[in-house]
Amino acid sequence: MEVLSQVTETGLKNDGGWPSGKLRLILLISFGGLLGLMVIAGLDAFHLARQMHTQEEEIRQTLLAHTQPLLVLSSSIYVYNDRIEEYLMSQDPKSDGPRAEDFSRLQAEINSTLRKYPANCQPQERALLESLKQLYTDQQGMLDPVLSWSREERRRQAWRILNEEVLPQRSRIQATSERIELWNSQQKGATDREIFASFASLQARQTRLLTVVLTAGLVLSLASIIYLLRLGEETERRYQELALSRAQLEALSAQLVDAQETERRSISRELHDEVGQSLGALLVEVGRLAAAVPSDNTSIRDHVDKIKSVAETTVETVRNIALLLRPSMLDDLGLIAALEWQGREVSRRSEMEVEVQSSDISEKIPEDYKICIYRFVQEALNNAARHSAAKNAKVAVEQTVSKISVSVSDDGRGFDPQRVRGLGVLGMEERVRRLGGTFTLESKPGSGTRLKAEFPLPHA
């Protein structure tokens, strides 16, 4: 048994193909790397989204910083122009209309806007700003004489000034305002394009990263799948090998049991027929010799008696060996008588009394079964007598239409079947299994042992 298990172990070790430590490390590193890559890609995407948002906000703010003051400026100049008209048209002496202070406040506003205007200007923007400045200067020039006029003078000149200067000026302001609007919308479009371009570049980077991650994942998965499939095939192959060798082992042990039984039978027959016969004849002759010796010749009589006693002992020994090898009662008297004989033999030799119980056992059951049951009982009783310190043992044989069962129980000290399992028990189990039977062993330290074998009968 030990040799066999060693052979199997080395066989497994020598054969490659099973996951080695190195391979496991590679797998671990690969999957770890993939995970790391995925985490990096995720973090990068998050970072990019925020970056994109900030950038967009920045661009929009910059644009606003330029377009806002320009629009404010143009509307302020427009209002300025409007006020001039209002001033010219105010004929009512009670309500003066806009006064000089209003104009100076408007001028202060416009000047402040101009001062605050960002220095970094694009050419187009600068042109617009310059034209606004020009409009503003023109307006100043237009207002200064008007303010110095008296009410009368103003009334006389109002229509002329209005038609010749104020209204054309207004049209120019409006035109400039429209140009600003146009520029503004152009700037907006440019900004959007800029944002889109940066977005596209960020997206491309993200896509590249994702592609790398996905490709790596795909390669790794494919490699793993292929490896797993190979592993599965390998396992299947090993399992079949194992099943095969197990079957072979069983066949071998069955052959061994058969061979043992055959061998025992032939040796037993040889002993019984050849040696036993010669010894029997010898005994007969010695008996006759003893009868022929005159009773007064004591020295010869003593010799003859000695020869006789040696011959008898030898006959006894040979008979016991033959019986151990092959119980002739199995052939002479049948199974139950043989079991009863076995029980009495054990009772005679040991301190354990054996009782054999049986009911209606057909002697027509196959020879294999008889031998198996006999050996089972023999082994069980010998074990019990040798190890269990039992006082009583019971052998029970029962037969139904479809099966025959035999059990051997004792009231000995028992044992733990998980820990103790001798070769004898293994041999019994093997014999029983060979005939398609089931073998059970129940034992507990302190509460006896019960062995049972059950065989399905081959035919009813």
Binding site: V315, E340, R344
Partner: protein, 216 residues
């Protein structure tokens, strides 16, 4: 004096020759035939009409037990002496069950054979001393280990008397006339004996008697 006709059946020629020498030395015994196996023994018993068949228990083709049963059926008046290697209850009981009246262990066959043949020819039983010894030992050991009482003490003197006569092979009618009892009374006693000793059938009763040394 009529000589007793003996048939020898044993598959071992050497043993048979030895037995034949022993039997032939007796003036009142004559060997009328020899058989190699059980089947031949049955045939020869039928044709040679022996008074006594000396037969080995373990023979090929038909074993001694089966052969004895068949011979007793064909020729009820042929007495059978069984030879065996084993002084064991199982063998003795089955030999008795098959109708044998004497049981000899082969070791002592030459010493006891003549005595056994004479005994069965007269309708008596005979057992090798070794057999009685083994049976008694088994019985005593069993009693000692189980702590049971010897059931023989339960029998009345009359029952013991009848037990012996039954074991010796006497019929109810013979016992009744011997003891001056009615056949019915003998039957009742017999049933009681069987019950008290927990025995099933005459073979077990004979075995019991041998064991107790009531007969030999």
């Amino acid at each position: 004096m009529n000589s007793i006709r003996v048939l020898l059946a044993d598959d071992h020629k050497l043993i048979r020759a030895g037995l034949r020498l022993v039997v032939d030395q007796q003036p009142d015994l004559s060997v009328v035939g020899e058989a190699d196996d059980g089947r031949q023994a049955v045939e020869l018993a039928k044709s040679l009409k022996p008074n006594v068949v000396v037969m080995d228990i373990g023979m090929p083709n038909l074993n001694g037990i089966e052969a004895a049963r068949q011979i007793r059926e064909i020729r009820p008046d042929a007495a059978i002496v069984m030879l065996s290697m084993h002084a064991d209850e199982g063998y003795v009981l089955r030999a008795l069950g098959a109708g044998a009246r004497a049981y000899l262990v082969k070791d002592s066959a030459t010493t006891d054979l003549v005595q056994a043949i004479h005994a069965v020819a007269e309708g008596k039983s005979f057992f090798s001393p070794a057999v009685s010894k083994v049976l008694l030992e088994d019985y005593v050991r069993k009693l000692r280990r189980s702590g049971a009482e010897d059931s023989y003490d339960l029998l009345s003197p009359r029952e013991r008397e009848i037990l012996q006569l039954v074991a010796e092979g006497k019929s109810n009618k013979e016992i009744a006339s011997l003891l001056n009892l009615s056949v019915y009374t003998v039957e009742t006693h017999r049933a009681k004996i069987m019950q008290k000793l927990n025995l099933k059938g005459v073979p077990e009763l004979i075995l019991y008697a041998v064991r107790k040394g009531i007969i030999s």
